[in-house]
């Protein structure tokens, strides 16, 4: 398959993830959209890696995966502790740090 199709799929996935981050107000859905964005980035890395015949992109995608796991652990821990304090995880109502 020609590589530009992979890049286009990756762009579409990233755009869907961005839309989710911007539009959803539930913190869980925002975290899921961030995972979508990370997967889209990895797909672009691997497509270019295959096109160039260079495996360094695979290593970077591996690091992205490890960081996504760390990010999910911390993000979900924050969501759970915010839920304990406030009994809801609506992002537009969490504005203690504003002003």
């Amino acid at each position: 398959m020609p590589g530009h199709l992979y890049i286009l799929v990756s762009l579409a996935l990233f755009f869907i993830g961005t839309t989710g981050v911007l539009m959803r107000r539930n913190a869980l859905f925002v975290l899921m959209s961030v995972e979508l964005q990370l997967a889209a980035g990895s797909l672009a890395l691997l497509a270019f890696s295959r096109g160039l015949g260079d495996q360094h992109g695979h290593v970077v995608a591996f690091f992205v995966m490890a960081l996504a796991a760390a990010e999910a652990a911390i993000g979900l821990a924050i969501v759970v502790s915010v839920f304990r304090l406030r009994k809801k995880i609506d992002l537009s109502s969490i504005d203690e740090l504003r002003n």
Partner: protein, 181 residues
Amino acid sequence: MNQTSDLLEKLAFVILAGGALAGALVTITRKSAVAALIALIGTFCATAGLYATLSAHFLAVLQVLVYAGAIMVLFIFAVMIVSHDETEPIALRGLFMRTTGVLATGYLFYRIAWLVVRERGTDVMAATATPPIPGFGNVASIGRLLFSDFLFPFEAISLALLAAVVGGVLLARPPHDGGAA
């Protein structure tokens, strides 16, 4: 024979890419977090298939193990703890600004896609046109790179994961158990 395998490759790409995009769309539009999670698992499995068609076999296996396995289990536990009574998924407050943001991002991505299509004849975009070098993307070659050129980033990532584990335990611990955070 060659034509059949070419057709099969195209078919696999269309199914995997369509599945990934459909799963992503379902994920960000569902009201129920469990339905969104199941769709997200489907998206990650389809992406793993796309990785495999790019000869990234090690990364494809890792995608299923780490994303569709470990991270999704974490999410399912979080959904279990956090209650389901959801306010409206799209709040009206700040809707104009956020819609503007989505439209601006959409325009940016449209321009990038236009650029990618224009440059589709270059070597970088060749992707699967030529057969890969032997051992491309398997565990042995990626592992050799990880433990030679990328040894320091690899150790740094393991430290970051350790910090994330400790931080996650500290953050998610109930505040009333007397421990000083």
